[in-house]
């Protein structure tokens, strides 16, 4: 977090020195895949009091959302990012008499910085075509919600509901390749593909007796995103 604040301060100082050409605000929506090998093992090995429980969700890829604020000057573009990812795993069974389910819901909040280098800028009519390479890095704040529920419709008192929450941090590096399509002076369409590598993963510990003593949340995986970049020109 301190590094992010420091980065923002540096950016603001950069703006004041007069080097920056434009301030950018960016929103991208996309899809990400996730490794989650420890979590998959936990889900698979979870013991339930019913024999016909199945794994229905094994931390599949899902929607990612990404916002970035940056400064662009000449071929360079750098700034801060905030990204949200979520996925979940579930093992259980439901029938008319009730349900027995074990769920793990993971949320990842990415805070970091990015640097983007424009490879070339082609102008086609009023539009621009700008391929770039990008490197993002920062921390992923993990939030894991575990729930273990048994519900019996005819006798709710026979059921139970156990919940637990875990949190931790990962350090990630994410190289990317993308293209910006400039639509006008103030707006550009952005698409990119990336691979997130969670280089450092913090162990999550639990006091739960049936839960493994420690596990890691691994958000590593491919990313594909598309969105809009809004430019605020700083120089006239």
């Amino acid at each position: 977090m301190k590094r992010t604040i420091l980065f923002i301060c540096l950016m603001l100082a950069f703006v004041r020195t007069g080097q920056a050409q434009s301030l950018t605000i960016e929103y991208n929506i996309g899809h990400g895949t996730y490794q989650m090998s420890d979590m998959k093992d936990i889900l698979k090995n979870q013991m339930l009091p019913v024999t016909n429980a199945l794994v229905t969700d094994e931390f599949p890829g899902y929607v990612t959302q990404d916002t970035r604020v940056g400064i662009e000057w000449r071929r360079h573009h750098a700034g801060a990012l905030f990204n949200y990812m979520n996925t979940a795993g579930k093992k259980g069974v439901t029938d008319y008499s009730g349900s027995c389910n074990y769920e793990l819901r993971n949320k990842g909040y990415k805070l970091g910085a990015f640097y983007r280098f424009r490879l070339v800028k082609e102008e086609i009519s009023i539009f621009t075509f700008e391929p770039y390479v990008q490197l993002s890095t920062g921390v992923v704040l993990n939030r894991v919600h575990e729930s273990n529920r048994l519900f019996v419709e005819s006798d709710p008192a026979a059921g139970y509901e156990e919940e637990d929450r875990f949190s931790g941090k990962n350090f990630f590096v994410e190289p990317a390749f993308g293209i910006k399509f400039g639509l006008c002076r103030h707006v550009a369409l952005n698409v990119n593909i990336a691979y997130e590598w969670d280089a450092v993963k913090q162990k999550h510990s639990s006091g739960h007796t049936e839960f493994p003593s420690d596990f890691k949340v691994d958000w590593s995986g491919y990313r594909a995103q598309a969105g809009l970049i809004f430019y605020l020109n700083l120089k006239k």
């Binding site: 929103y27 429980a53 199945l54 979940a88 069974v93 029938d95 008499s97 819901r105």
Partner: protein
């Protein structure tokens, strides 16, 4: 531009909160049995159902049992048989119990059978032992126990070869008296005659065919909780055509 930025952030916030992964469901369609009753029939052994009294009637101590006949697809977890305040429990379809007439006063009771069943098709509730199909049936039960006696009754054979049985009753029983029964048993068959006259002290069996047998006289009371008892019995041999030597009435 400022407005646009606000709209952008509001939209992003909305998307952040709404885009949560939706979990799937492993729904198993087991098909619920549509039956009105878990029980198809209940049978009691050790005492009988009397159609005229529309009740079960138990007269003697002894072993009894209750057997359940259940609808297909159900499995009995346990059953409870209740008689008044007494209770017997079993984990099967049959529950054996003892009826001890010395511990049950005569009278009318509720006899009930409660069954706790589950379907044996592996539902969640069934697997965790929380499936409950409870059904209870009840019937009236009369305890009509009688106290026996070893006392010999006097008797004699009249000129037509018919036995005349004599008995004595304490005068103090007149007010509570309801009726006598004179029961002739021969070769596992019982013939019962009834008399409502308290002053009657003898009985001539004009249907007697000289085959021997046992005559036993019981006294019954208006208050059903007072147990009827035997006033004694007279045992006739096949060859007997006079009187019992011990209790021959003096002429």
């Amino acid at each position: 531009m400022n407005k646009s930025v606000v709209y952008l952030f509001v939209s992003v916030l909305f998307l952040f909160t709404s885009c949560e992964y939706r979990l799937g469901e492993n729904f198993v369609d087991l098909g619920r049995l549509q039956v009105d009753s878990v029980l198809t029939d209940v049978q009691f052994y050790g005492f009988a159902y009397h159609q005229d009294e529309k009740a079960y009637v138990a007269e003697n101590s002894g072993a009894a049992s209750c057997e359940l006949f259940i609808s297909a697809g159900f499995e009995v977890e346990r059953m409870i048989v209740r008689l008044g305040e007494m209770e017997w429990e079993s984990t099967g379809k049959r529950c054996d119990f003892m009826l001890d007439m010395d511990r049950i006063p005569n009278g009318s009771y509720e006899l009930s059978c409660e069954v706790f069943a589950r379907m044996n098709n592996g539902t969640v509730a069934g697997q965790v032992g929380a499936e409950q199909y409870v059904e209870k049936r009840s019937w009236p039960l009369k305890i009509n126990a009688r106290t026996g006696s070893d006392k010999n009754l006097r008797y004699r054979m009249d000129e037509n070869g018919h036995p005349e049985i004599f008995w004595d009753v304490d005068e103090s029983l007149r007010d509570g008296f309801d009726h006598f029964t004179i029961e002739y048993s021969y070769d596992n068959v019982v013939y019962i005659r009834r008399s409502n006259r308290f002053d009657q002290r003898s009985f001539v069996d004009e249907t007697y065919a000289g085959a021997g047998g046992t005559y036993e006289v019981y006294i019954y009371f208006k208050d059903e909780t007072i147990r009827p008892y035997s006033l004694g019995k007279a045992v006739l041999d096949v060859s007997d055509n006079t009187s019992n030597p011990e209790n021959n009435p003096k002429k």
